[in-house]
């Protein structure tokens, strides 16, 4: 009886370790769907279509960036008479009102300055202020919601509006690219992350017919869609854009991602800034997961959000930190109760991880080669130096053993069994510990040698674990019902198109 229980416990632990390969396998499936995007896309329904478009820009202390954004919008390849910009100044305390007023005077009748006297309630409230004004008359046929710092390429808007020619489409989003120049190591990591999370993931979402999120910096809505949504966006969460995306699809409208419409955005160049941004996103996603709890894995005739594919993709990302922690804990437990089984399970997990890493990284760099050329080092080191070493060892164990033996011989060190077991245990716990190591990078950043230690820690622990650490921390905050605060990402006007 006790033996049966022990065996069952061992297999539960094995299952928990193998479960950690789930997100990687789901990621690979998602990337395979990208490969069939040429068959399942919305281009056949596109038409040249230039609706009268209102551009809504929420702005709180955006003096450094909003003027440049307006100038870029004014040079869009789009009929002049069909474009109006509405800047909702959320009681800014910097020179935003003066900058916008100057642009309104320069582009008379095409730039409108709206001012909220009581601000600080968050982006959703600011958007609703603008929406109430814009929907107040019937000029607007389509509405583009964007951030004050993003820079549109000349053809971006018309590449988006062509999808609205199909009345079934309620909203369109574009490819947000990291555009900080000069960038740093962190913006390059983000640049790579956006290839995977935006241009790849959203292509696959086009294929399955369910889009997770209209990017806050580029969401185009038809008037009919906004009316259907009640003319306002959700103000009860930190993920108003995801709520809008879900509600659009639940209401029966299609949402389309246009990968060839590009928007450049300035992303955080410090871990502290990134942490604030991702904390907001992760808490928002937690709220979405709970609020739409009846939707997951329940098929519906009107939309595909309840499909298995979409549910698996969503929860693999949502639960990733827990997969990493349980896999580590299970491996360490197995190490003590059944060492050979732990070793075999570890190999199965990491052979899967290595194969999916190789596929996803190579394909990502090929999907957007221009960005890939700039960020390939960060792409390779996305899981961190330690995990990368494990991947290399998993792929070529004999070569690695030879190399290690030669290294020891060179250093005249004789490895003891204790040494070997310490390394094995370290590797087993690393999946979870890498998140803590990445968190240390955040703690170290503001200190004296932070500029050296933090990047080094991120490269060693990995950018992926850093995001997982932030997500984990966000869930803890959410479960403790911590105050929801709209921590705006600071922008300095570094985003630029490459031309």
């Amino acid at each position: 009886m006790a033996h049966d229980f022990g065996a069952a416990a061992e297999w539960v632990l094995v299952a928990l370790v193998i479960l950690a390969a789930g997100p990687q396998l789901a990621g690979s499936w998602q990337f395979l769907l990208v490969a069939v995007h040429f068959r399942r896309n919305h281009y056949a329904e596109c038409q040249p279509y230039f609706p009268r478009t209102a551009i809504l820009i929420p702005a709180w202390n955006e003096a450094a960036v909003v003027g440049n954004s307006i100038d870029h919008l004014m040079s869009l390849d789009y009929p002049e008479e069909a474009l109006r910009i509405f800047v909702v100044d959320d009681a800014s305390t910097d020179a935003t009102p003066e900058v916008v007023a100057a642009k309104a005077a320069r582009y008379s009748g095409r730039v409108v300055h709206l001012r909220r006297e009581r601000g600080g309630e968050g982006k959703a409230h600011t958007l609703n202020h603008g929406l109430s004004v814009i929907l107040g008359d019937d000029w607007m046929q389509a509405l583009l919601i964007m951030d004050a710092d993003v820079v549109y390429e000349r053809d971006t808007l018309r590449k988006m509006t062509r999808h609205l020619a199909d009345r079934n489409v309620g909203a369109v989003t574009a490819y947000i690219k990291e555009g900080s120049r000069p960038g740093n190591y962190l913006t390059r990591f983000i640049g790579y992350e956006y290839i995977t999370a935006q241009t790849a993931a959203r292509r696959s979402q086009n294929v399955i017919g369910a889009i997770a999120c209209l990017a806050g910096g580029a969401q185009l809505h038809s008037r009919a869609n906004l009316v259907l949504l009640g003319g306002r966006v959700d103000t009860s969460s930190l993920a108003e854009d995801t709520f809008t995306t879900f509600n659009t699809q639940i209401a029966g409208h299609r949402v389309v991602f246009e990968p060839h419409a590009t928007v450049w955005a300035e992303e955080p160049s410090t871990i502290v800034g990134l942490w604030k941004q991702r904390m907001r996103w992760a808490r928002g996603n937690f709220q979405v997961t709970v609020r739409f709890r009846r939707l997951w894995f329940h098929r519906s005739k009107g939309h595909h959000l309840g499909g298995i594919n979409f549910g698996v993709f969503w929860f693999c990302v949502f639960l990733l930190p827990f997969f990493m922690i349980t896999a580590s804990a299970s491996l360490v437990t197995l190490y003590f109760i059944n060492f050979p089984l732990a070793w075999r399970t570890f190999h199965v997990l990491w052979i899967t991880n290595a194969a999916t890493y190789l596929f996803i990284t190579t394909f990502s760099l090929l999907i957007d080669p221009a960005t890939g050329r700039r960020v390939w080092r960060e792409a390779v080191l996305f899981p961190g130096l330690v995990n990368l070493a494990v991947i290399v060892y998993t792929c070529f164990p004999r070569l690695c053993r030879w190399a290690t033996r030669d290294l020891f011989r060179l250093l005249q060190v004789v490895p003891t069994p204790l040494y070997a077991h310490s390394v094995i245990l370290l590797i087993y716990v690393w999946l979870a510990v890498s998140m803590a190591a990445a968190y240390l990078a955040k703690l170290a950043e503001p200190h004296k040698f932070g500029k050296i230690i933090s990047p080094a820690l991120v490269y060693v622990a990995g950018y992926g674990p850093l995001l997982c650490a932030c997500t984990f921390s966000a869930y803890v905050k959410e479960l403790r019902k911590a105050e929801m605060k709209w921590d705006k990402t600071e922008k300095t006007g570094k985003a630029a198109t490459p031309v």
Partner: protein, 64 residues
């Protein structure tokens, strides 16, 4: 609705747009280019899979 300045179907007033064959041809070319790029991604995916297969063969046949 709203194609090349044609309007009025479904109550979309004042839809503006380029007219004539030139812009329409360029629109068609743009769509063709987009689909061509997407087809290219299929080939790129196969290349990435081939790389994984190559490493797997090396791993299990030569360096296991």
């Amino acid at each position: 609705m709203g194609q090349d300045g044609e309007d009025g179907q479904g109550g979309d007033p004042g839809v503006s747009g380029a007219s004539g064959n030139g812009p329409s041809r360029s629109f068609d070319e743009e769509i063709r280019a987009a689909v061509r790029y997407e087809k290219g991604l299929f080939v790129k995916a196969m290349l990435a899979l081939a790389l994984v297969a190559l490493v797997a063969v090396l791993r299990f046949l030569l360096f296991a």
